[in-house]
Structure formats: structure tokens, C-alpha cells
Symmetry: C2
Subunit: 354 residues, 2 copies
């Protein structure tokens, strides 16, 4: 046994077996080993078996870098997300990772926190080219020119939250999200409805905030309610940001009786600010969020649910099917959203005594 162990033992460290070691031990050429290992045709069954057996014995694995260099494919993909530490993105990461690992792809995650990062990623000299076979952009806008560049460099792309004229995308109807949330508040009799969205000067230019805001306005318009600019605040998609925004709103001369937060995390912040100010939810303030965060049910938050982890999984599948040869053009897969009414929203009570 030990005698035909072809692992060299250099300075006490056993070298990892290469394809040549396997070829030698199996008494065939490297080409045959390569074919056998990858299940390619034109290998006799007995040869295939012998190679497999030897490979197992030598614990052989094709060196990914060598394979990559020879084939031009890396079997790895990138997932670009802003704000890695938010519930939404962590769910997407989770969903995508599960699919990638099941399909044998490595997933590199990249936090893209500003336009500089974003540009560096798409840039001509970007390390992304030749490092991964494809990339999923989550809530990161990709311009037409950038899309062309990516396509040109033969990168497969899927976008989530935005769409391009070149790649498949997974989106929700963000205008509808706003309408659903605000429509619900209006149906409860609210008229002073605030909105907490993303940053004004969003480095990434989220289209998400704008669209949800458009839905907010559409719902108000439809009910002949004039939007008060003072009721628009920015919460940065975090609990803290939502809390700060709500504090500002509550300090207004004429505070809102309801608030639409564009994410559950900001809504949580709003709930916190309300409690700190001694304002009862939902009696004195109705709050509605977006996402249906794990914890939303715990704090009884009314929200617009979207299937977040599923976004990640679907995006990964779309990307991988491109990589496996399927030729796909631009597309827009619109995922469903759903209003989930809990107890953070209630009918508007007229005058409130403070």
C-alpha cells in the first residue's frame, strides 16, 4: 500500500496530489484523468473507475486556480450589497449562498457603501473581472454604460431591486408598496401621514426610496390629501435612523398621526421614539413598515411583506443558469408583496391631547 503512495514527502510535508500524480498512479495520461474526473465522454468505464479510485486514494482535487486559468471560468460569483449589516441584505445573502453552495459555486460578498465603491466594482480595471463569473447587484443601480461594460467583459449579471436594459432582474413594485402601506393608513382615516425613507443624497441613488415615496404620494393624491413636505423624514434604513427621524416628526407643531417607514427596521426605530416620547401605538400613532422582518411579529408591526430570502435564492439561480450556458436577455421578474396588518395601526383618533 504505502509503496505506491506517490505523494512526495518533501521536508516532511506531503505535497498535494496533482493530476500528474493521479495519471501516473492510474497508468493513464493526464488528459484521460481530466476527462474521467469531469464525467466527459470517451473514457472506458473501467478506466473511469480506476481513475476515480486512485483520485480518492490520493485525495486529489483539481486545483481551482489552474482550472480557472485553463478554462477562463472560476465557478465563483459575487454578491454586491450595500449595508451588509441589515436584515434585508443578510436575508438575501443567506438565500443566495444556499443556492450557490448547492450548485458548487463560491460566493464572494462585497459591501458597496458608496458610489466610489460602486464605481470601483464596475470599473474597467476592476478586480471583479476575471475573478468571478458573474455578479448579483442588490439594490445597486447599474447605468446603461456600466451594463455594457460588464456585458462586454463577459460577466453574467443579475440585478435585484433595480433593473437594467441588459440583464435579468428581480424586483418588487415599490410604488405599489408605498400605495399599499399608505392606502392602509388612509383607509383607517389618517390624513397626517409621515414618511420615513432613505437618505436624501443617497450615495447609491437607491431607486427604492424614490419609488416608495412615489407610491406614498400617489395614495395621498388619490385621497385628495395634500402632502406636507414637513412630514417627510430620512431614516437611513436603520433602527437608529428611524428613531431619529420619528423624534423629529413628533417634535413638529402638528405631528403626524401615522407614519410609513420604508423598512421594518426604521419602523422599529419609530416605535422606540414613540415609546420614549410617551406616545401610544397604535392609539396615538399608527406605524407601518416594509419587509416583514423576523421581529415584526414580536412588536406587532403592520408591514408590507416581501419574500426577501427568496430574492437571493432566485437571483442566484438566475445567475447560475446564465453561467451554465442559458442565454438570457433582460427581464424583470416582479415578486409579490402583501400587506400584513398587525396591531401597530389603528383608526385615526381625532384631536389628541398632549
Amino acid at each position: 500500500m504505502a509503496q505506491d503512495e506517490p505523494d512526495d514527502d518533501i521536508a516532511g510535508v506531503r505535497r498535494r496530489a496533482t493530476i500528474e500524480d493521479v495519471a501516473a498512479a492510474a497508468g493513464v495520461s493526464v488528459a484521460t484523468v481530466s476527462r474521467a474526473m469531469r464525467g466527459l465522454p470517451n473514457v472506458a468505464f473501467s478506466t473511469r473507475e480506476r481513475v476515480a479510485e486512485v483520485a480518492t486514494r490520493l485525495a486529489y482535487r483539481a486545483d481551482p486556480a489552474a482550472t480557472r486559468l485553463a478554462t477562463g471560468r472560476s465557478r465563483s460569483v459575487a454578491l454586491a450589497v450595500p449595508l451588509l449589516n441589515s436584515w434585508y441584505f443578510s436575508q438575501v445573502v443567506s438565500g443566495a449562498e444556499a443556492v450557490c453552495s448547492a450548485e458548487g459555486y463560491d460566493m464572494i460578498v462585497m459591501g458597496v457603501t458608496g458610489d466610489e465603491d460602486r464605481r470601483a466594482l464596475v470599473d474597467e480595471t476592476s478586480s471583479i473581472h476575471r475573478r468571478v463569473d458573474g455578479i448579483i447587484f442588490v439594490d445597486i443601480p447599474v447605468s446603461s454604460d456600466e451594463a455594457e461594460l460588464l456585458d462586454h467583459h463577459d460577466l453574467a449579471v443579475v440585478t435585484v431591486g433595480n433593473s437594467t436594459d441588459r440583464f435579468p432582474s428581480l424586483v418588487i413594485d415599490d410604488v405599489h408598496v408605498g400605495e399599499l402601506a399608505v392606502g392602509h393608513l388612509i383607509s383607517l382615516g389618517h390624513t397626517r401621514i409621515a414618511v420615513i425613507g432613505g437618505q436624501r443624497i443617497d450615495p447609491l441613488g437607491f431607486h427604492v426610496s424614490d419609488s416608495r415615496r412615489a407610491g406614498y404620494h400617489a395614495a395621498l393624491d388619490r385621497a385628495d390629501i395634500v402632502a406636507d413636505p414637513a412630514l417627510a423624514a430620512l431614516g437611513n434604513y436603520s433602527v437608529c435612523g428611524g428613531r431619529d427621524a420619528m423624534q423629529t416628526l413628533l417634535a413638529l407643531d402638528e405631528p403626524p398621526t401615522a407614519v410609513f417607514a420604508m423598512s421594518d427596521e426604521m419602523a422599529f426605530g419609530a416605535l422606540l421614539a414613540a415609546r420614549e416620547a410617551g406616545i401610544e401605538v397604535p392609539d396615538e400613532l399608527s406605524v407601518v413598515g416594509v419587509d416583514d422582518h423576523d421581529v415584526s411579529v414580536v412588536v406587532d408591526l403592520t408591514t408590507v411583506r416581501q419574500p426577501v430570502a427568496d430574492h437571493g435564492a432566485r437571483a442566484a439561480r438566475l445567475l447560475i443558469s446564465q453561467l451554465e450556458g442559458e442565454r438570457v436577455g433582460p427581464s424583470r421578474d416582479e415578486r409579490p408583496v402583501e400587506l400584513v396588518v398587525r396591531r401597530s395601526t389603528a383608526p385615526c383618533r381625532p384631536a389628541r391631547v398632549r
Copy 2:
């Protein structure tokens, strides 16, 4: 200008520039380009400048796969975590990613959901070898044998939450965590204190749950309270699991007056179950968690805080410093924890009428 553009234009697709293109355009050899690009010595200043200029013009970037094959280093690391979609792990991912990207390393995330996954990762033929330069194991136990194997394959390793006798680790004192939480409850006069931990047959064999449970018992012992096995439940580190566990506990003939949940997410579930059962927190039930989740302040949860994102960042730094040549042996960096008292805990009220 266009005339010395050495990019070939094959079938309308411009090939990405290689080191040879740069060498040709700069009128030097590839060896010189290689040296110049990497800031190695023995390159004339003027040559260096010329190469840099040409490289920029041609948008040249060394092909990572080729570099990898030639050097044996991939400038990428893996982060192995169970339960990618939990707050704790997403924070760790976020912290680690920030450091890795700042240092120019790619970070591959791998969800390790069971012992099978875990073993596949550490296994002799694992795709991990030669794919990454190092790996961070977060709350994934690594046996002595496995550690030796990893070391032997020349992988840099850092563990978080567990420690090995071979690699640097980042831990917290989980026994102390349990003592802190349960000590707090005892100091409030509670004696029927339940505990919600991880799964009994934990596929990953978390040492975390055991240690925290040990702290629970230590605190009870110190107060001469006999632990009631009926008060130990399993919550699977999720909101849902915590809720289910709490429901079971509340259904006991003699339900607890306080509960120690080993994560904030399970504590949230406990809060939910209590509310659903019409039990007031903290009047009828005190709840304490672990982590200090973003949302904990929102639901006013008393908790044992640990600096989670910092774990990720530190682990990444430790790993990268190993990769940059620093020889590090086994170590145990114990990070601080801190009891944060909020309003989910209150003095024990004697008999409760139901």
C-alpha cells in the same frame, strides 16, 4: 494614440490586456512589468513610471487566476458560519467583510448548516484547500485532528466562539454570560428561572450553549437554587424557536417567573409567546437575552451585550496578519461582555393568579 493601442480586436471584442501587452507597449520584458507592478526592487524609476503609465492606459490588471497559480496565494479568505440568516452572524459577516475588502482580500462566505457540511469543509479533498488562503470559523468546532489537517495544508485559520490548540481565537466567556444573566435574575428575587438554549442534538455541537448553560447552573448553585430540568427548553437560536420554547415553559404546572434566553432573537420569541399568552413582561415574567441586537432597545430587552461586528473585524484582521507573514500560534482573545439592564426584567412578584 490609437495606433499604439495594443489591444487586439478579435471579432469585435477587445481582449483584456495581459502582461505581455503591457511589456510590449512599454518596451520591456514581462519580468520587468511584473516587478514594476508589484513595487519590487531593481526597477529603474523611469521604467517603473513608464510601466505604470502603460498599465493604466491599457486598463491592465494581473489575472488573479494566473497570479494564484504562480504564487500559490489567492488573496481570498473564507468565512464559515452556521445560520447565515441570523443577526449575530450577519453582524460578524459585516465586520469581517469591511476589513477584508479594505485589505484587498475577497471574502467567500460559506453557510455550514450541519456536521456534514462542516466535515466537507475540513476534509482532505475539500474545495477549501487551494481556493482560499485562510478561513475563519465562526461558532464551528474544529477538532484537534482537523486543526492539524488544516494547518498541514498551510491554511491560515482563526476561530470565533471556539478555540483550538493551534490557531488564534476570539471568544467571550460564555459561562460568565450565563452567570451574568441568571445572576441578575436571581438578584431580582427570582428562583424559578428557565433557560432557552440551542438544540439538544446540535449538529455543530456548539460549545456556546453548553457553556452558557453551565453559567446558568453555576449561578443557581451559588444561590442554593435547585435547577429544575423542566425549566430547560430549546429555542434553536431563532425568534420562532424561542416562541415555541416559551410556550412550552408557560404551559408547565409551575411556570417560570423568569427566563434566560441564550440569544436576543430567542428572547424576542419569548416576549412574543408571553404576550400571546396574556402574560405581562416584566410584571409576571422577566426575560433576559444575549447579544444586544439592534432591536433589543426597541423592545426594552435586558441583555448581555457582546461586541459582535467587532468579532468579525478582529477575526479578519488576525487572519490577514497571519497571511501577511506574521507567525502566530494559538491564542485566546477574550472579548468583554456587559449586562445591559432594560425593562424586560423586574423583581419577582410572589404568587401569580392566572
